[in-house]
Amino acid sequence: MNYKGIKVVSKLTTIFSLIFLISFTAFANDGNKGEYNDPVNTQEEINEYIEHHVKDSHDFHLFDYYSNGEEHAVGFPLPVILWGENGLTAFMSSAFHHDDSGKVIVEKNGSRFVKNHGTIYELADGADTVVYDAEHHPTNASKPFDLSITKSVFGILLFGLLMLLWFGKLGRQYKKNAVPTGFGRVLEPLVIYVRDEIAKPNIGPKYRKFTGYLMTVFFFIWISNLAGLMPFGFNVTGQLAVTASMAIFTLVVYLFSSNGHFWSHQLWMPGVPYLIRPLLAIIELAGTLLIKPFALMVRLFANITAGHIVVMSLISIGILMKKDMSAFGSTTLSLVLSMFITLIEVLVAFLQAYIFTMLSALFIGMAVEEGEHH
């Protein structure tokens, strides 16, 4: 591909992504019969709504409106790709008509699928609704392997593409000129920041090999966190699966790059009484293999999820306190509070990306550190 073509593609993708992230334009979907005048306005409904939001979903849902006594959901569908008992099946999530309670059955490729609380089940023959046993396992349905482009997967793809275009462009700019122009001027100091403030001080002289991984992690988390604050409500880094995957990446990176010095300290700590050494080895191993990646995983997940929950709870003050404070008072209160929390969340978005990357670098640095030769 020639340079000009890439440039045009890059510009277009950036513009479309920004429009996509900021604007509220969406495709209206066909209506769903709902009870008029029953908005989400009680404590329980709001809790459920928030819980639903922080989870991954198979479509983008923006808002609902009522007309002619019918509830219309506004959003747009995403492709559902399933690997079930009859092989690969694909359809758009609009086939479920925004149903999330297992009522709408989609028949495709000889299989029948229902969606219940964000999970798609393949119904067994003869069943028309999912029945659960005491441990909440479905008895008459199986769970196909879900390869769908869900909201989070869409986010991962979009942010990955943006990173590739932005930083790929920056990389190409250096071929012509030692100083980048345009948006590259914004990105360059960030790259230098990650290299000089995170990779170098924590890893030491061998930092070069790991900088690529650390920068990918840093920018991916940061962009995901920031996108989570925009409309459309991406919650990529608030998915436990995503943070777990990244924590395991860090675990794999530092286990594979660890040296003899690291393992000698892990298994047979020098300088302590011999009796304590096996005990210390257990503690050290637990720390290295479990606690460190677990802490990475939970810290990011919990911070981002908590941020989303707090912002939404503060917004719901406007609904819940209406009786006590009048519409104006409760709306003002919720606006002011949620605005401040959102500002704090902007800081948290950066902070969590920084902490995850910094700790990853620190763990890698511990694993590759050379012992002082006595």
Binding site: D146, G212, A244, V298
Partner: protein, 166 residues
């Protein structure tokens, strides 16, 4: 813990792992490698440029010091040259003066010698003329007064005695 496990979706985990692995490889290949290489090159370039500027500055300073030294030397040389010239001039004047006085005294001596010989010649000439004159006078006297010979002789002698030389 149960809540955590319930939140965990294996499907998403697999998808994220594959996608993130691809992303890391693509980013390293197309973005981070060229960016880091370019940044490194640039930083090294800046460092080199600063170093060479520093060395150029040092060289400049050395050069200036050299120039100063050369200037100092040139000044000293000029001064010694001037001094030598002045000395030479003085010596030449002295020499000329000495030679001139020697020459002058020599000329004076010669002149005195010439004067003395001229004087001697003049005296002898005068003596000869005086003798001639005396003889002529004597002749006349003799011619006139041959009669009164004794008286004449007395007169000649008295006249000769009176005619003193200078």
């Amino acid at each position: 813990m149960e809540q955590l496990l319930e939140n965990f979706s294996l499907d998403l985990f697999v998808k994220q792992t594959i996608l993130f692995l691809i992303l890391i490889f693509l980013m390293v290949k197309f973005a981070w490698k060229p960016i880091l290489k370019a940044l490194n090159d640039r930083e090294e370039g800046i460092k080199d440029a600063l170093d060479s500027a520093e060395s150029a500055k040092l060289e400049m300073q050395n050069l200036q010091a050299d120039n100063q030294k050369l200037l100092q030397e040139a000044r000293l040389e000029r001064e010694t040259m001037l001094k030598e010239a002045r000395d030479l001039k003085n010596k030449m004047i002295e020499d000329a003066k000495g030679e001139a006085s020697v020459q002058a005294s020599k000329i004076i001596e010669q002149a005195q010698a010439a004067i003395a010989s001229e004087k001697q010649a003049a005296i002898s000439d005068l003596k000869a003329q005086v003798a001639n004159l005396s003889l002529e006078i004597a002749e006349k006297v003799v011619k006139e007064e041959l009669s009164n010979k004794d008286k004449q002789l007395k007169l000649v002698e008295s006249m000769l005695g009176e005619a003193k030389l200078n």
